[in-house]
Symmetry: C2
Amino acid sequence: MESSVHLHSQLLELIPDSKRVTRGPSIVAAHSQDYSHHPPHQPDVVVFAESAEEVAKVLHFANHHRIAVTPCGVRTSLEGHAIPIHRGISLDVTPMNQVLEVRPQDFLVRVQPGVTRTQLNRELRKYGLHFPLDPGADASLGGMAATNASGTTAVRHGVMRDQVLDLEVVLVDGSIIHTGGMSAKSSAGYHMTGLFIGSEGTLGVITELTLRVYPIPESTVAARAVFSDLAAASESSYGIMQSGIPIGRIELVDEHTIFAVNQAKGTTYMEKPTLFLEFEGSRAAVQEDVRIVEEICREAGSDPGTPGTPGTPGTPGTPGNAAASLSNVDNTGGGLIDFVFETETEKRNLLWEVRHDAALAVIQTAPQKRMKVTDVCVPLSDLPEAIRMARETIDAYDTYGAILGHVGDGNYHVIFMVDPDNAEEMRIADEMNDKIVQYALSRGGTCTGEHGVGIGKMRYLAQEHPDTLPWMKRLKQVFDPNGILNPGKLFVDEQTE
Amino acid sequence: MESSVHLHSQLLELIPDSKRVTRGPSIVAAHSQDYSHHPPHQPDVVVFAESAEEVAKVLHFANHHRIAVTPCGVRTSLEGHAIPIHRGISLDVTPMNQVLEVRPQDFLVRVQPGVTRTQLNRELRKYGLHFPLDPGADASLGGMAATNASGTTAVRHGVMRDQVLDLEVVLVDGSIIHTGGMSAKSSAGYHMTGLFIGSEGTLGVITELTLRVYPIPESTVAARAVFSDLAAASESSYGIMQSGIPIGRIELVDEHTIFAVNQAKGTTYMEKPTLFLEFEGSRAAVQEDVRIVEEICREAGSDPGTPGTPGTPGTPGTPGNAAASLSNVDNTGGGLIDFVFETETEKRNLLWEVRHDAALAVIQTAPQKRMKVTDVCVPLSDLPEAIRMARETIDAYDTYGAILGHVGDGNYHVIFMVDPDNAEEMRIADEMNDKIVQYALSRGGTCTGEHGVGIGKMRYLAQEHPDTLPWMKRLKQVFDPNGILNPGKLFVDEQTE
């Protein structure tokens, strides 16, 4: 407490604004946690930075005095990145929330790190452009870069590392550097931009991003394909990927998760494995893509005696009309049960309701608890088996978990609701989590496809990257020799422990 | 010479095969240079490595004895990467040329670094897959990763960094590490894979790559659009990018370069700014994309009094028929002169002949000379002005240079033929090059979009990345403290100079 008071007065000398350098209980409490289940830790002081220069002042000071700094944005992290477990300073960059420059003809934009993705998209819409990455939460772009976030559109547009052309980063010595440039590609030296993306605030603090943006497609169509079993859904999703169609999103929701949504919302969606799809492009191209995808889904699980013979293709409705539900249900031998698509925005959203509401529905099953989310990513062909294994694991513990799969890139989440104070519940969740991660690693996959390592996956990072972990630690030494930046995340830094 | 003999015998103790550890004059001479204009330097010894373990032996030995090692593949570098300017060992990995594993259902492949891209594509064709990156030369994949190469398909598929999921790398201490994994995406720690890609053999030696591969599209259509002037061609290319059509390739060749091709080959192509395009996807989607692109091209440069009013869209021929040359030439006020497209492979190749043969045609203008190629990349909207400036510069020196533009990503090349022994000619080429690079840097662009820094762009790297160059040097210190790996490339390493 004494030291908090002293630190507060020291920081006020650097930034003489008591609204932005604060020990206020509600602000300190808010900055003690993020969206994750990890236990809260209060910072000594919260600093709201308004510029790179202020960030530089704080880092230079903190580095000199060996004080932990935990950078944060809107704190939607699911792995405790924003929790100041070594107290010190919570460095909040949300006041840096300006879209600095839109360059429509260059398909790029310069933003401050506190800008959220929906805020950016509101601004971009004026130019007929959008930033397609969608991690679900309305995350800040600085945070998305820090964790190399992605989401449902990764299958089409890649991950955060693919979007960032340049970062302004403040280093612990207070220097402010630019890592890249304004050109769409470059082979000029080591990939410094890529190094800071995904570094989880442990190498420097991001104070500006230059991002790729994309034209809003002429046409967007959402579709939902319901299957009799997981095998047919998986076969279809592979067929769709194999077709080379530039699919916008392809998401799998299993029957247990749809059951949860029905319970939570009183809806009556068919409780079967369901693919949620999005198509984008020119009107005619999208119409054709939908037709092909429906044909692929219809062939999945059809009589194996006639491989290659397309099933009778349904006559898809013209996109833009009311939902064209193809009701010629065929349950013989498994396969597609229903295929529906929609063009208009509101109806598209309704069509995707189950996918959008799945996490929320799971939260509603236990509103007093907190989320624990697995984030493994496996080679594409291993995904059906990985999901089946995850479901068996959940069932074996006689508990509940929702499964959401980014089928296009092998990344899927199991969402458990846990009470961090209930040791037995946490033990069970940890055991299930461990089984899911071990399977993924055994297949050459990763413990984290998009959420980052944070607090919760440090031992899995060590297991996944035994070869490079020592080198990661050496890089950390280069950029943060005193270990003040987000200590206790990503890996245990021997210097500070 | 003495030291060469001694080194040779030492290396023969490590790898007792005199065919693969050699001072043979023709082999040493071949390894003294690459495709670039940079002066040759002979290595003391050439080692042909057959495994990561052999690479490890050589590096461990060379590191201990402070002997320079220049890794190389098929030496198609245009910036001297493979030239052993500090003598020592030329470490040739071309014997490591096996496609180790094709995993069609995971859309990935494991290859050794000496596999060339056409070799890989021959193997992938059996699975209906392809590796789309096309830097022109039949480069080895290890070399492509080392320089973060890309080429004409970058607009659709990105650069080498976007394709590599995992690298096996041998470090100077002889350790063999894996940097990534088999999943399509990961947020597990620092981006070590990205750090080695584009490091030009200065941090480690790549001995295996895991790459993304893609389904061969159902349909591929090539098109050629001839414009009355550069402005109309530029406006069209921006319109095409803005349309959001997933264009496969979009290349600009200026009228002077077409003149050179006509001179070299006796052809009679219209000497006008020309866009070469490639479309890929489903048959119907591609047909629609071609129709839209033709409409965009037709609108470019049309009467500015009626903006937004589409010109009379031509009736495109059905792809797959003979070339549908739309001969309703409209020269009033500038704009599209001709639009032709082709579906069949041979006819597609013929349609793209000028683009494919441009570099060769320029070489034929001076077969006794060597190529010097600029490789700047600018923000997309600056490309027309950058190309105009480059043309003016070439004309001002009353010399000859071909201009080829990757219009989709702002990267363009000027190819000069130079006699490295002619000081005046080299001075002029250097001056022109400098003007072109300075313009790009002034626009926030890069000195190298895809060829890498090598020998020729070290001072431009220093100018482009003053903020990060000191950190790049620190990273070099971490991985190669004795500076044995490809010394004299990328930046001057104070340790070894």
